[in-house]
């Protein structure tokens, strides 16, 4: 039997129908002209890979802020829409591609990201090229508000220099003058080490060694053997994330914390929650912490709101970074009375965060000269078990103002080029 050439059989029709149906869902929604189009915020942060945990926590903070603002009529009477993309944890190409997609195809008015500072810098090139306002919530490399500072880019979290300056004097006076370092072998680690070394030299101490560890290494025993042999007063663990968990676990299993003081600079609740109790040792600084001495306006409500969105868990510094990012943008837009990028950037510079947003003592503001947020450093000690509270893993002893430890703008290398 000869089939007609143009026969349309049932299967083809079904396939075509399915494809058509899928195309409806897959294609971006086209919003037809309405009175007020929403303000679109593009989030390009890791949702997979090694930085998935901090990335998701930052997103939680952002989503909370967006819901709060939308409940009060959004920004300048316009609702806010958050468009979230996965930048991956380490693929700069993917992060840049997503940033371009958010700006060019989705027409976002404001870009947010990235946890990975290398990705943040790559994205900053794109946002600067396109003239879109960009806040980096949690990427730490100094260059973002230093040599690579840009008129449209602002940063919430600390620079590595701020971190080193905030805690080194205390470590020196508490523990002694011979320091050994375990440093992750990439930009963040190097600049953090340089900051600590500079502080140590100024105070009159010595470096007994600096172990450069490859990112993602699981076994620190070889480095700990060397550190122990050097016999320092204190071992500074500068690695972060999963590396921090592995290193501290092994330090406590080897009993090194019983022979040498263990400390560091930046510590985060995400890795601490992943550590068994015996590994929670040392003096560290957190960039924000949920349990603070005294009475902090807005804090209890913030904790309660975050618990609802995170299966009962407390907010971390990352949650706060995301939260501040969105609220800072909203405040700047309201101040500038527009969402136009240059005007918002001008309004954001030197803008002070109100008490219920900053949720900490000391003045918190974006410094005009380099667009770096002057946030406080929460210095204290990790606890094996909470003080009766199993969620409280860190005892805050001092809260140091950001602008007292940040190097002056002239020393950051930032020469801000404002647009015409």
């Amino acid at each position: 039997m000869i089939r007609p050439i143009a026969a349309l059989d049932r299967r083809t029709v079904v396939k075509a129908g399915a494809a058509l149906g899928l195309a409806q869902i897959a294609a971006p929604f086209v919003i037809s002209a309405r009175g007020e189009t929403p303000i679109r915020i593009g989030v390009d942060n890791p949702l997979t890979g090694t930085y998935a945990a901090p990335g998701k926590n930052e997103n939680t903070g952002m989503l909370l802020a967006v819901d709060q603002l939308n409940a009060k009529n959004g920004i300048l009477g316009r609702k806010i829409e958050l468009q979230i993309e996965d930048s991956t944890s380490g693929d700069a190409g993917a992060a840049v591609q997503k940033a371009r997609k958010l700006i060019e195809r989705d027409n976002v008015d404001f870009l947010v990201g990235n946890v990975n500072s290398a990705l943040a810098q790559a994205m900053a090139q794109v946002s600067n090229e396109k003239g879109v306002l960009h806040i980096v919530p949690g990427g730490h490399t100094d260059g973002i508000t230093g040599v690579n500072c840009k008129w449209n880019v602002f940063r919430v979290c600390n620079t590595t220099r701020m971190e080193a300056n905030s805690i080194c004097p205390l470590l020196f006076s508490t523990y002694g003058k011979k320091w050994h370092f375990i440093t992750p072998d990439y930009a963040f680690g190097h600049t953090l080490y340089e900051g600590c070394e500079a502080n140590l030299k100024k105070l009159g101490g010595t470096v007994t060694g600096n172990e450069l560890t490859p990112l993602g290494i699981t076994d620190f025993s070889a480095y700990l053997i060397k550190a122990r042999a050097a016999n320092p007063d204190v071992l500074l663990v500068l690695v972060q994330g999963n590396d921090m968990v592995n290193c501290l676990k092994q330090i406590s299993q080897f009993g090194i914390d019983k022979q040498i003081h263990v400390a560091g600079t930046q510590q985060e609740l995400e890795p601490v929650e992943a550590m068994p109790p015996e590994a929670r040792v040392g003096i560290w600084m957190f960039e924000w912490y949920w349990k603070q001495p005294g009475n902090t306006p807005g804090l209890d409500q913030f904790i309660a709101d975050v618990r609802k969105r995170s299966d009962g868990k407390v907010p971390t510094a990352r949650t706060w970074f995301g939260y501040v990012t969105i609220h800072a943008y909203a405040l700047a837009c309201e101040k500038a009375k527009t969402i136009e990028a240059k005007a918002v950037a001008k309004a954001l510079a030197d803008l002070e965060m109100p008490p219920e947003i900053k949720m900490q003592p000391n003045k918190v503001y974006f410094r005009g000269g380099d667009h770096q947020l002057m946030l406080s450093a929460f210095i204290g000690e990790l606890m094996h078990k909470g003080d009766g509270d199993p969620e409280n893993l860190f005892k805050v002893n001092h809260i140091v103002a950001g602008d007292s430890v940040a190097p002056p703008v002239s020393e950051t290398g930032c020469t801000m080029q404002m647009p015409a």
């Binding site: 490859p214 999963n242 592995n246 676990k249 092994q250 299993q253 550590m275």
Partner: protein
């Protein structure tokens, strides 16, 4: 300096024993089925997380026993549903399949247990080091080495003296003839895969005590396993064991003189082996054809 070197060689052997455990499982699967299992690290992660979930009910020792078996069962299901379709094809197909599977396992783990790491302590009885001087030889690490030694010994005995073991070894050399002799090759392959995955699951439980338990923990352990196979010789389990120990020691020694290269050195070793003796130290020529 001498003491530092001695310490690092000893330490390297401990690390190498762990790489060998992963690598042997991988090698088993590669030899008989010709499957390059990029999802091996994913099964390690599953083993670790299952142990974490079971531990409140059956304790650490119970979890150590049960989790690898459960992981092997999951591996069996994966083999029957997915891997089986790749037999007889270019190894590239199985590589692509298992590569994709690795991502699926990672994200599924993240969905089920959350993106953040989970705390997993070693039992009290195993925490103390041998002495203040040999602090890096902890009870737990000795236990890990002992477990690896026992499991490898059992595996070698099984492969040498049991009928199934002989069939697996024969199948590695000539599966067609083994099939023609009336052996159920499908079941043999499934069992072999399950044993390989059992070893990955066991490695996962052991790893969870030593490093952070989180969805990407298998990534850093997979590459050294492949390199152990290449260095030791594809097709030779003894070679794989030797390869694992060698790269562990090389990594440890490099950390003494050039710390930032301690990971890169195992790749250098692999390159050297491929240039000078491509079949590996104990591999037989033509094993991969």
């Amino acid at each position: 300096m001498l003491q530092l070197t001695f310490f690092n060689v000893t330490n390297g052997l401990i690390i190498g024993a762990f790489y060998a455990l992963m690598a042997i499982g991988l090698s088993l699967i590669l030899n008989l089925s010709g499957v390059i299992n990029f999802a091996h690290g994913g099964f390690l992660v599953i083993g670790g997380y299952l142990a974490y979930t079971l531990r409140p009910y059956i304790g650490f020792w119970g979890a150590l026993l049960v989790a690898p078996f459960l992981t092997a069962l999951i591996g069996l299901a994966v083999e029957r549903l997915l891997i089986r379709r790749m037999y007889g094809r270019d190894p590239l197909y199985s590589l692509l399949l298992t590569f994709g599977l690795a991502f699926i396992i990672e994200d599924a783990t993240r969905q089920m247990w959350g993106a953040n790491g989970l705390p997993f302590s070693v039992p009290e009885a195993l925490t103390s080091p041998l002495s203040s001087e040999f602090f890096f030889i902890t009870g737990y690490r000795m236990f890990m080495v002992a477990m690896v030694a026992i499991v490898v010994a059992i595996l070698f005995v099984l492969l040498r003296y049991t009928r199934i073991g002989v069939r697996i070894r024969a199948g590695t050399l000539d599966l067609e003839t083994v099939s023609a002799l009336g052996v159920n090759v499908r079941a043999l392959r499934s069992l072999n895969f399950a044993v390989g995955i059992f070893l990955a699951g066991l490695a996962g439980v052991l790893a969870a005590g030593q490093i952070g338990l989180e969805p990407t923990m298998g990534d850093g352990l997979l590459m050294p396993s492949f390199i152990a196979i290449i260095v030791g010789g594809v097709g030779s389990l003894t070679g794989t064991l030797l390869g694992g120990l060698l790269i562990g020691v090389a990594s440890g020694l490099t950390a003494v003189v050039f710390p930032s290269a301690s990971e890169a050195v195992i790749f250098v070793m692999m390159a050297l082996v491929l240039l000078v003796r491509p079949r590996g130290l104990l591999g037989e020529e033509g094993m991969m054809t």
